[in-house]
């Protein structure tokens, strides 16, 4: 487990303010499971609330991190999490082998594949019972994936299959390119961050937090 100081944003009456957070690489399984326990009830309650109101329910409402941790027994998978003010604010599971870039100029070269990434339900508009509490969770976790990609000699390349409701975030906030729906994976759109785009993404985030 490695802990790195980072920053999220916290909602205030006037808007958002920076708040210290910790990025955890290789989150212990018991910590992931504790986060799931803390998230599960709010995720389900939020989904029921939205459904009762006739609103769109987040596509990941049924996720259960306890069913994903078995993958961490394999070398192929690593995890990351963001902790802030004593609570886990986001989790990510990545795969390091078996996926490669689909677009030129690096087509066929390895990348870090984001298998799952989720922000705590109280940070997700709609799922939260009130306004979302913390921001920038997804951004910090995608940054962590880029850093892992550099550590693995993948030049910052990152890829994933996006749930439709998350596509805008990957396109507009992260600068990922879409290869369109993948008929081999539930027709979810394939997105990837090229080496060049990952530099711009990290640079843009540095500027945003200054």
């Amino acid at each position: 487990m490695k802990c790195i100081s980072t920053e999220l944003t916290r909602r205030t009456d006037d808007g958002w303010e920076p708040v210290a957070a910790t990025l955890i690489i290789d989150v212990p399984v018991d910590v992931i499971e504790a986060a799931e326990i803390a998230w599960a009830v709010q995720r389900l309650e939020g989904a029921r609330r939205l459904q009762a109101a006739g609103s769109a329910v987040p596509e990941h409402w049924h996720w259960d991190w306890k069913n994903k941790t078995h993958k961490l027994q394999l070398l192929n998978y690593r995890s990351a999490g963001i902790e802030c003010e004593g609570e886990m604010q986001g989790l990510m599971l990545v795969s390091l082998a078996g996926h490669s870039t689909r677009t030129p100029p690096d087509k066929g070269k390895p990348l870090v594949y984001i298998d799952y990434v989720e922000s705590a339900p109280w940070n997700v508009k709609g799922l939260a019972n009130g306004p979302p509490r913390y921001g920038a969770v997804g951004t910090r976790l995608v940054e962590a994936a880029v850093q892992l990609s550099h550590e693995e000699e993948f030049s910052g390349r990152v890829g994933l299959h996006a749930l439709p409701q998350a596509s805008r975030f990957y396109e507009q906030t992260c600068g990922m390119l879409s290869d369109g729906p993948d008929s081999h994976y539930h027709n979810l759109c394939w997105y990837e961050l090229t080496s060049q785009a990952s530099q711009e993404f990290l640079g843009g985030q540095d500027n945003a937090t200054q």
Binding site: D26, L74, L75, R78, G98, K109, P110, E152
Partner: protein, 70 residues
């Protein structure tokens, strides 16, 4: 990730050539290629031991062949 350990790897000329070609094509060091190979081999081995099968599929030729892994 845990600390790293060093080992000597004895390869034939052909094996070394294949490793170097892969490293060049994937833009990785030879160590990174070996690391990727171990990850994939472990993943495949565990999933096949659990009863899953591994296939190569050629969508153009409409061919599908099961890959046997020792």
């Amino acid at each position: 990730m845990a600390g790293k350990r060093t080992m000597t790897l004895n390869l034939t000329d052909e094996e070394m050539k294949a490793l170097e070609e892969l490293a060049d094509r994937k833009d990785l060091s030879k160590t990174a290629v070996v690391r990727q190979a171990i990850r994939l081999y472990q993943l495949v081995d565990v999933r096949m031991a659990a009863g899953e099968k591994l296939y190569f599929e050629d969508e153009v030729e409409k061919k599908k062949a099961e890959l046997m892994v020792l």
